[in-house]
Amino acid sequence: MAQAVSQNDHGHHDHGHHDPQELKMLGFWIFLITDVVLFGTLFATYVVLHNNTAGGPSAHEVFEMPGVIAETFILLTSSFTSGLAVLAMNKGNVKQLIAWLIVTFILGAAFIGLEVQEFVHLVHEGFNFGTSAFSTSFFTLVGTHGLHVSMGLGWMILLIIQLSRRGINDVTRGKVNVISLYWHFLDAVWIFLLSVVYLMGVM
């Protein structure tokens, strides 16, 4: 009957067998394409609806740039640190890898904290989800990005636990590569958010 496979003979390739990490990487790239379409649709909705303020506040009345600039720098830095994490992994240094992931996590959490603070502030100003088509599409677009970042944070915790338990092997290496790709992607989406929503909003 079937025999169990031990953890360490994962790396060896039998005849006609496909490298699962390679498959996962391609699958994740394709997933990112679908995520691009998802954000693209939300951007399109925002662009169509952003002038429909229905008597409520408009973009340059509500956006406060200092907080947004701070969020931007924090997220960009976290993208850099996630890159350093991958470099540490490639050197085989698991402690450094975990340390950089923790730094990335803290920066990501700070970003989310600032974003939540911004949202709370906006709601207190009387600019909430149901104010107008503009506010609805704004909160949905920015909130979806925030939700993605939050999912990434949860995932990072799981990954840190797995790395501290199992160290660097084929499986965890694949996972770190994937999450770093995801993190850079969210960074790129944020650049578009900053330009289309905030900068063009206050212009």
């Binding site: 025999q3 039998d14 699958g27 394709i30 679908t34 649709t41 909705t45 989800f129 104010t131 636990i161």
Partner: protein
Amino acid sequence: MLENIKEFASEFFVTGDPLIYGADVSIALVTIAIVAGLTYFKKWKWLWRNWLTTVDHKKIGIMYILAAIIMMFRGGVDALMMRTQLAIPNFEFLHPEHYNQVFTTHGVVMILFMAMPFMFGLFNVVVPLQIGARDVAFPFLNSLSFWLFFLGAMLFNLSFVIGGSPDAGWLSYPPLSELQFNPGPGQNFYIWGIQISGIGSLATGINFLVTIIKMRAPGMTMMKMPMFTWSVFATCVIIIFAFPILTVTLALLFLDRFGGGHFFTLDGGGNPMMYINLIWMWGHPEVYIVILPAFGIFSEIVSVFSRKKLFGYTSMVFAMMIIAFVSFFTWAHHFFTMGSGADVNAFFAISTMLIAIPTGVKIFNWLFTMYRGRIRFDLPMLWTVAFIPAFIVGGMTGVLLAVAPADFQYHNSYFLIAHFHQVLIGGVVFGYFAGMYYWWPKMFGFKLNETLGRWSFWFWNIGFYVCFMPQYLLGLMGMTRRVSTFDWDTGWGPLNVVSTVGAYLMGIAFVFQAIQIAYSFKYREKDTTGDIWDAHTLEWTIPSPAPEYNFAITPVVDSRDPLWVEKQRRAAGKLPKKDAKPKYEPIHMPSNSGIPIVFSTFFFIAGFGFTFHWVWMAVLGLAGVLACMVVRSMNDDEGFYIPAEEVEKTEASLRGTL
């Protein structure tokens, strides 16, 4: 207390309609019978181990197809109810509100819960076998896709007896589908049922794309892939670009209804047209998603049953990829009448007509494949031959509809209804039936009964034309879609009677198919060759049904029709009569998993909670979903190996050389 429960129940359950009470009773009886049967025959463990937790693509494919056939029954009953209501002027069989629900669920069920799973079922059964792979790229994700589809479909169907069905049309245009005009839970069932199964469809698209790109047998270059695999590739490309739009659109409608947003509302600056654009940016590619695999199926069948290679392979591939690309630039032809202006309409009219060119190329390729072939008219070929005239008429009327100025005449009339049923039944359903008959022996190891199949075939075909040809005329006479009744003086009576007769003929055809399947199971003759149709591609080189590991030895391919070429070489004496004894190696297999069904059940619970605005339940469901993701992420099960001796024994017994 009792009063409270009574009041809750009268709102929670759909009450007051004898048809629905009948359905309640039959659903309850069937459920009890299934549970009792499984318990009596002690089959629970078997069901869980072999089916509910399986990650085997062949079994998942069979479950998809089974679900699709059940959904076809449900959608078909909806269709017959509508045709009954329309048979006679001023008939009072269904109330107008009930009629609205029936046409809504008919459309959703047939496209999303019949055509899509039928298609995914055939993907699953065929693609890995056709490209010489052991499984799909992500077997766990594949199982998850199935269960998301299945529980999404169940959530949608639940609306029939609990809460009330959606009634804003199969694409649920706002503002009618907004909270203001549609406060009941029916519309929420629509959103969540489709959302949950749509996530599964998206995952399937990713899964098969990776499978086809990365897991082909050595030597099988892209331009040596079987045509069905090419069609799956094209379809998956469309899926990954189109389905995220559906996910977003439904989410936005949900946020409007649940969170008080203003995306598509009439007040607050919302724009209902935005929804209609978005939903058709998914919806139009969606119809190509379901038709392209049918094209692939016809291509396989037409060459096998004409005993020739496929004519114009390269042009077929290009035609398919061009259709996939252009399908994203035609969406506005669904609303020429909404005043986008002449320039926009002209663009979309021309892009729509362009699609006819690659489609025409394909039709000619199939005809030239048949030309001077020695054609066998087995069931798969019969459906293929019936498809061609049906699709030509449907395609031509499609081009008529694409003429933007003329469309103002027949927009939303029965002319349109006749057109899209002609391409969806004549193209998609005929195609999937052809595929089902063709690959049935590969799934189960025996052929479906030919005689009953022919009865069903003729009833389907005659019923199809009797039902839909009159509808073209009705459309030109001014009958619009979604009217629940009409007056004697419209003059639409006679043609409507004829159309209804046609619908019932198709109903009889479906009964013949059900009998055919049951009869064929009972009197099955085991196919011992594995190549029952004298076919061309890799899936027929292995025993029927395929062993769980598919290929004991990974095949090496050097042509487009590897099996066909091998048989010719063998006949010409260029290959030894019997192969040397192969050297088997241990085969790595993925482990079964219960997570997909649990994950999807939690998603179902979340959807149900959102449907009734029970936030606690929605939160519970989503927490369960997240917990499943955590468990999966921490899980380090990497499957198991089937030892070489066991592979050898299985092969020997399946190939009858023990």
